[in-house]
């Protein structure tokens, strides 16, 4: 068990053995940190495209099944080689740069969107001892680096010199910045309870129980997950890529590998949101049964992946179920629903903290917190729905009681 648990750590050690043997001891001691960092980075850079390939396949499979189709099934067993085929296709495709575009911005945008998408993996605790850098302000780092995506989208949309791309990129910017607010506030409760911004500390703070089991954790998770979905433009918040209105959104003018990079950034973003939801609310790589059984059933990194893929599945599930939100409803949802809810979460968390520990906290906390959440939900949605649809209320249809003569 211990071996599987430490599999990747040992692999790293094994990789370090070679330079250790070759280099003089003094030199090696000096550069050991650097070398292990490079190995870690390489691991991430292998992991990222592999995840992306798997996710594209998984998304198509899951959504297909939800629509009673098979999904990709021609390339390889269960279509498992389909993502590779797609990758090769994108790689070999002609890279068309339209004459009207701003060539520099146009070529730079896909790189700018991919770099933060990869960098966000740096603070992700994949398992015990499996984090690249344990930053003490990891949450701030996540928030700041994920908002670079907006700039890339704006670059792509503006440089394309295409009406739909421009509208799409502006919408994306409005959407991403709107959802960043509830995203930020939803993490306040977590910070209050964990007392640290480091992702590692947050995971370790959940050893007593996952945060999602508490009322503030539950609400925080919902807000974090939904606004995260909006941040990475997943359905039902994919207004920037609304095919039915905006052709292909901000990447209409892209082809070949550049388009592929956009695609990759999108999937990595979705994975990152799922993974950080796990980290902040579902105990990260912690084994939920370990405190009960006394030993770990699965290695920590497997737990992390399992939990993350459940949430990734939820993303695909949304995609298979929910239609796209209209753009005004989308922004309203951020400002007039998620934000008040996120603000409400702070007093709920404070209340939870000041309740005496033990069963009474669970009962009273859930009773008060749950009713507060429910009441707020009803208040906000009732207000919105009334206002939106009140004037469209259909008059009740007159009931036909007598048959009308065919001819008079």
């Amino acid at each position: 068990m211990e071996m599987i648990e430490q599999l990747f750590v040992m692999l790293k050690q094994a990789a370090l053995a070679l330079p250790q043997a070759l280099l003089p001891a003094e030199l090696y001691a000096r550069y050991e940190g650097m070398l292990s960092l490079v190995i870690g980075i390489s691991a991430i850079l292998v992991f990222a495209p592999a995840t992306m390939l798997f996710l594209t396949w998984m998304e198509r499979k899951v959504v297909a099944r939800m629509q009673k189709r098979y999904g990709p099934n021609r390339v390889g067993k269960f279509g498992a080689l389909q993502p590779f085929a797609d990758g090769i296709k994108m790689f070999m495709k002609e890279d068309i740069i339209p004459k009207a575009v701003d060539p520099l911005l146009h070529s730079l945008a896909p790189m700018v969107i991919l770099i933060p998408a990869v960098m966000i993996f740096a603070v992700m605790p994949f398992g015990k001892d499996m984090i690249l850098v344990d930053l003490n302000i990891a949450i701030l780092f996540i928030m700041s680096i994920s908002s670079i995506e907006t700039i890339a989208i704006l670059m792509a949309g503006w440089s394309s010199r295409n009406a739909y791309s421009l509208i799409s990129s502006l919408r994306a910017a409005a959407q991403v910045i709107s959802y960043e607010i509830p995203l930020g506030f939803s993490m306040v409760a977590v910070l209050m309870m964990a007392g640290s911004m480091s992702t590692l500390d947050i995971v370790l703070a959940q050893q007593g129980g996952w945060f999602v089991l508490t009322p503030w954790g539950f609400l925080g998770f919902l807000i974090f997950f939904l606004s995260g979905a909006a941040e990475v433009n997943r359905t039902p918040f994919d207004v920037p890529e609304a095919e039915s209105e905006l052709v292909a959104g901000f990447h209409t003018e892209y082809s070949g590998m550049k388009f592929g990079l956009f695609y990759m950034a999108e999937f990595l973003g979705a994975f990152a949101i799922a993974a950080f939801s796990i980290t902040f609310f579902f105990g990260g790589w912690l084994d939920p049964f370990e405190p009960l059984l006394g030993f770990a059933i699965l290695p920590s990194w497997l737990w992390f992946m399992l939990k993350t893929y459940v949430l990734v599945f939820v993303f695909f599930w949304f995609r298979g179920t929910l239609p796209r939100l209209r753009v005004d409803l989308l922004l309203n949802f951020a400002w007039k629903y998620l934000l008040p809810m996120a603000l409400l979460n702070i007093p709920i968390a404070a209340l939870w903290f000041y309740l005496p520990a033990g069963p009474i906290r669970w009962v009273a906390g859930w009773a008060i917190g749950g009713s507060l959440i429910f009441g707020m939900h009803q208040l906000l949605t009732y207000h919105r729905v009334k206002k939106l649809y009140g004037r469209y209320e259909r008059p009740s249809r007159p009931v036909v009681t007598e048959s009308v003569p065919l001819k008079s």
């Binding site: 980075i41 495709k93 990869v118 003490n136 009406a163 003018e253 590998m257 005004d328 400002w335 702070i346």
Partner: protein
């Protein structure tokens, strides 16, 4: 891990990520066909020829949202340090935070009532 080292690592990661992002495009450069012609290189948009240049003014609505975002994201920055130290600071700080959040909520309510959050 010391924080200087952590930030340095992030810098190195950024360099690697840049290479990672450039590599596919650079690699594709050697494989991809090049058969450019005018029709292909015109702006696609939606299949028709674009009628107007799109590099011009855009809806003011976006700036309103950007302004609201600016206000609230700075508030978030103020709330975070308090949140981290919430357990140490005690109930007085909680009260103060409620006052702060109250101001925030008043701001939100103001924007809401004024229709600043309404997409037109």
């Amino acid at each position: 891990m010391s924080q200087e080292l952590a930030w340095g690592s992030l810098g190195i990661l950024m360099i690697f990520a840049t290479i990672f992002a450039t590599l596919p495009i650079a690699g594709a450069f050697f494989f991809r066909p090049r058969k450019a012609h005018d029709g292909k290189e015109s702006t696609y948009e939606c299949g028709l020829h674009p009628k107007k240049d799109t590099w011009n003014q855009i809806n003011i609505q976006y700036y309103l949202f950007a302004l609201a975002f600016l206000i609230f994201s700075i508030e978030i920055l103020y709330v975070y340090p308090w949140a981290i130290n919430f357990q140490k600071l005690g109930p007085i700080a909680l009260l103060e935070m409620f006052i702060f959040l109250g101001v925030l909520i008043v701001g939100l309510a103001y924007a809401w009532r004024k229709g600043g959050l309404e997409w037109k």
